[in-house]
Amino acid sequence: MSKPSDLIHGTLDLLILNTISLEPQHGWAIARRIQQVSNEVLQVSQGALYPALHRLEQQGWIRSDWRVTEGGRDAKCYTLTRAGRTQLLKELEQWERMSNAVGLVIRMAPEASQ
């Protein structure tokens, strides 16, 4: 089973939702964009991306439709649903809380050991 070992567990959904919150995009573009925006730090493996997209769609957070790309090919594009937008806000908030908390712990740790 290919798990997103290069991503913190559970953040892939957040990244996907956030990426398509600006405009509808297909799978390839989503992977590309995450990679570019993170300065090539976050590598989304396709093995994780597509199951995640399908899961999010089945959960009703995103919706898909077929569009023609600039290159003239049919691509499956994913759009955030209204429910998905709410979900994104919730996950963002949770992420903030978590990363703040983790940051606090990490910064505190060396002082405590001294």
């Binding site: 297909h26 390839w28 089945q58 290159g71 649903t81 209204r82």
Partner: protein
């Protein structure tokens, strides 16, 4: 929000299920697009085309795996898997039709039996009584040291009704059959007199008209009647205009006050089961009469509806307080109040028998399960290769277990479907065979509850018999089974141990059932053998009710019956005829007052059944005289009062003395004329053939205590049908307006009295026979399988000089050892369970050595039989072939 989201989700699931092909194509297309983009990017970075493609495919990883994971996200895959498993199960079951048919049929039989018995239990024991808030309905009785349940006195009842605070309403009824005449042949109607508000207390009301008020209870009023729906339809062709019209009942005018709706149940009575359900034709008001001082005659069946929130104990205490007050006002007597739920009173006596039947069918189902498990195990070992191949191809163990379980569930559901069909017929047969007077028989049917029960049983059954074989099969050693050729691919030692265990278990369960059946059989034989105290053969009985107005003068009653008996006895082929207040074994209303014995203190506790009889009543019934004399025609209204008692009464109150010549009285302070002399002692007759004791009883001379309603008993040597018409003719000659009711032969009555035992015996016997057949079949299967596996070994043994007899002994010994182990376990269980059965047995203890020995022998004998055929086959083993093949 989530309406939209739910809609999205549902649409997707539906699409994945129904438009599976399109969804799959889209998935392919999506991944292909991704691949193409990657390839294009690689080329743009300067890779050659073929390298660019290879790199892209590498980056994407296992395509099939991604697809599978995407499919998993659809959440519909378990449905698809199920569909696949089902298809596969059906295919593999079709491949072994004999196996499938046998297993489905045995399951169908036992599931069907369970559904049928459960529908009886559901209708009788589980469904609440058909009244609103039935749990608040109570029966109210008196109780004393000698009488567990005694009817109420009318005036006592009125005091309870006026003074109690625990009940919303109370009501009382008493059996009161009437004769309907006017149009056509007069008929006897089964009827009750009821106090005001009786139906209201039950929570039902007439469909037309109204029920009786307290005005109707007054002395000399009460000339109104409520008809049952059945009578209204059959006799008055459902004419609504009948309301307010006048009917002739007992040759008196009665105004029709109401008509009950269909299915208005009259609650049954423990003594007179005849009052169950819709067998009641008419209800008339109970006339309390003018005598407000009588506190001695007890004949009212009392009911009450508790106020909400009042418990049975509180109600009991409340009535006890009223009774204590009444004692202060009227003087003491030994009665206590006893209330019990109407439900318990109505169906309580059937509980043990129904639970016995449920236990029996439950055991039968368990045996069928074990049998099915055994067959599946045997089949599993012949499918070892198939399963090994499947797991070699990557099927996970859980998948294989799931696949095999699907198979057993399919079998169980097929069995349940067929079983339900059997139950549809079975319930009809069951209801038709129910013992006489079985309560709530009309409410027994297959309904959604029974279907739910059947489905549940089927699922549990499928899991129960499928799980062990499935796990065993999935645990097979992959390597070994693939390596071994077809010949050796059989179960391991562990597996044959498991199968032996199952067969022994099956035998022990069957033994438990056989013992139950054997005990019932032994008890039934005891019942048939017991001396009933009368000779039921060739006796015709009937009931005659003289209308009150025409026969207000008691001398006319005596005259009527004397003439009737004389006419009958003058007939050729009628050696004896008589009349009595009732017949043996027809139930008894508990009317057994205390009496005073001459020379004993006034508070001496006595009780006995109260009857009246004409001189030849005993001779007609065939009840022998033990001592003294029978009643005679010289015992008239003017001669000294005399009485005949049974042996039980003589022995209980005059032990070691001669009861003949002793005197008793029903008066508190008897004068000389109030003493009644015992002139004879007759043989005991029990209340019911299976009663555990004989109740003391006495018979007053009919001429000295004449009643209006009597049972006629005619002993005949000529053809019974001729006697029946002669009886009708004799009555018509004396009074053309009289109906002859309840024409029955005494052996029919005796038959009905045995029907409960016969019913239980028949069903438990049937289930036990099925169980034995299944166990024998299971034994045959296991032995036959083991013989097949060991044919080579047997050939070698023969080559080494074993005789056929030795092989026989070896194989039969194996079976008998299994059966003996099973039987021993079964007998031990039966000892524990038989105590519980004891209440249904007559004349034997639960641990009856005869039955136990017989069942053990039977188990061993059938095991020997089951082993015989496989053993015969073993003796035909060819030594040469074994030698060659090894």
């Amino acid at each position: 929000m989530n309406l939209r989201r739910s809609y999205d989700i549902l649409r997707l699931r539906w699409r994945s299920l129904v438009r599976r092909g399109q969804v799959e194509r889209e998935l392919d297309k999506e991944l292909a697009f991704h691949l193409a983009q990657q390839v294009a990017e690689n080329i743009a970075q300067g890779m050659p085309a073929d390298e660019a493609r290879a790199a892209a495919e590498r980056a994407l990883g296992g395509l099939a795996q991604i697809q599978e994971e995407c499919r998993d996200m659809r959440r519909t895959n378990h449905i698809e898997t199920l569909a696949n498993d089902l298809r596969y199960a059906l295919r593999s079951l079709r491949r072994t039709p004999a196996f499938t048919v046998i297993i489905v049929l045995t399951l169908a039989l036992s599931i069907g039996a369970n559904s049928a018995i459960f529908s009886v239990i559901q209708g009788v024991l589980l469904r609440p009584l058909p009244y609103p808030h039935p749990d608040r309905l109570m029966r109210i009785y008196f109780q004393s040291d000698t009488q567990p349940k005694f009817p109420l006195n009318p005036n006592d009842f009125r005091d309870f009704r006026a003074r109690n605070r625990a009940f919303e309403s109370v009501a009382a009824v008493t059996r009161h059959d009437v004769q309907l005449s006017g149009s056509g042949e007069p008929v006897m109607l089964s009827g009750f007199q009821v106090s005001a508000g009786y139906f209201h207390m039950l929570g039902i009301s007439p469909a037309r008209g109204h029920e009786f008020s307290t005005d109707d209870e007054l002395d000399g009023r009460g000339r109104s009647v409520i008809l049952s729906d059945r009578l209204w339809r059959t006799r008055f062709s459902a004419d609504p205009g009948i309301l307010g019209r006048t009917l002739t009942l007992d040759q008196q005018p009665f105004i029709v006050a109401g008509i009950m709706p269909p299915g208005a149940h009259h609650p049954g009575n423990n003594f007179h089961a005849v009052a169950d359900g819709e067998t009641v034709d008419v209800w008339c008001p109970f006339d309390f009469g003018a005598d407000t001082n009588d506190r001695f005659s007890h004949f009212l069946d009392a009911f009450g509806r508790l106020k909400p929130g009042v418990s049975r104990e509180q109600a009991n205490a409340d009535l006890a307080a009223v009774l204590a007050q009444m004692k202060i006002e009227q003087g003491g007597n030994g009665w206590r109040v006893y209330t019990l739920p109407l439900f318990q009173e109505t169906v309580g006596r059937t509980r043990n028998m129904l639970l016995l039947l449920l236990g029996a069918v439950g055991l039968l189902l368990l045996i069928a399960c074990v049998n099915a498990a055994n067959l599946l195990l045997a089949r599993g070992s012949s499918r070892v290769r198939e399963i090994a191949v499947r797991s070699a191809l990557g099927a996970a163990r859980g998948r294989i277990v799931r696949q095999l379980l699907t198979e057993s569930l399919v079998i169980a559901l097929a069995g349940a479907t067929l079983g339900t069909l059997l139950a549809v017929g079975g319930v009809r047969v069951l209801v038709a065979c129910l013992p006489a007077g079985f309560p709530r028989a009309a409410e027994i049917r297959l309904d959604s509850g029974v279907f739910a029960f059947t489905l549940l049983v089927a699922l549990l059954t499928g899991l129960l018999f499928g799980l062990v074989p499935a796990i065993t099969a999935s645990r097979t050693d992959l390597q070994q089974s693939l390596r071994e050729s077809g010949r050796g691919a059989t179960g391991s030692g562990r597996q044959s141990r498991l199968r032996n265990l199952l067969v022994a278990g099956e035998t022990s369960l069957a033994c438990v059932l056989l013992i139950a059946a054997g005990l019932l059989l032994h008890s039934f034989v005891n019942l048939l053998r017991a001396d009933p105290g009368f000779r039921p053969q060739q006796v015709l009985t009937a009931s005659i009710l003289l209308p009150p107005e025409q026969y207000r003068d008691v001398a006319r009653r005596v005259q009527f019956f004397e003439r009737l008996v004389a006419t009958l006895e003058a007939l050729p082929g009628v050696p004896a005829a008589g009349v009595g207040s009732d017949l043996p074994w027809t139930g008894y209303d508990g009317n057994a007052d205390g009496y005073r014995i001459e020379g004993r203190p006034a508070d001496y506790q006595t009780m006995a059944r109260y009857h009246t009889a004409s001189p030849d009543y005993f001779r007609a019934l065939g009840t022998p005289l033990v001592h003294g004399r029978f009643l005679t025609v010289r015992d008239t209204a003017d001669s000294p009062a005399v009485i005949v008692v049974n042996e039980a009464m003589a022995n209980r109150y005059w032990p070691g003395e001669d009861a003949v010549g002793k005197r008793i009285s029903f008066r508190g302070k008897p004068e000389e004329k109030d003493w009644i002399r015992i002139v004879g002692v007759v043989k005991d007759v029990k209340d019911q053939p299976d009663s555990s004791w004989v109740r003391p009883a006495f018979w007053l001379a009919y001429a000295q205590e004449p009643d209006r309603g009597m049972s006629v008993v005619v002993r005949a040597t000529s053809a019974p049908s001729v006697v029946a018409s002669q009886l009708r003719q004799a009555v018509r000659q004396l009074n053309p307006d009289l109906a002859v009711g309840d024409l029955r032969f005494m052996d029919q009555i005796a038959d009905a009295a045995f029907s409960g035992q016969r019913f239980a015996l028949f069903l438990v016997g049937l289930f036990a026979a099925l169980a034995l057949a299944l166990a024998t079949f299971g034994m045959y299967g296991v032995i036959s399988y083991s013989v097949n596996r060991r044919m080579g070994e047997f050939g070698l043994r023969m080559a080494l000089g074993a005789r056929p007899w030795d092989l026989m002994r070896l194989i039969v010994g194996q079976g008998v050892a299994l059966a003996a182990a099973g039987a021993a376990a079964g007998l031990l269980c039966a000892v524990a369970l038989s105590r519980w059965l004891a209440s249904l047995l007559y004349g034997i203890r639960g641990a009856d050595p005869v039955t136990f020995a017989a069942v053990a022998l039977l188990a061993l004998a059938t095991a020997t039989l089951a082993c015989y055929l496989p053993a015969r086959r073993a003796t035909g083993a060819d030594p040469m072939r074994s030698l060659r093949s090894e």
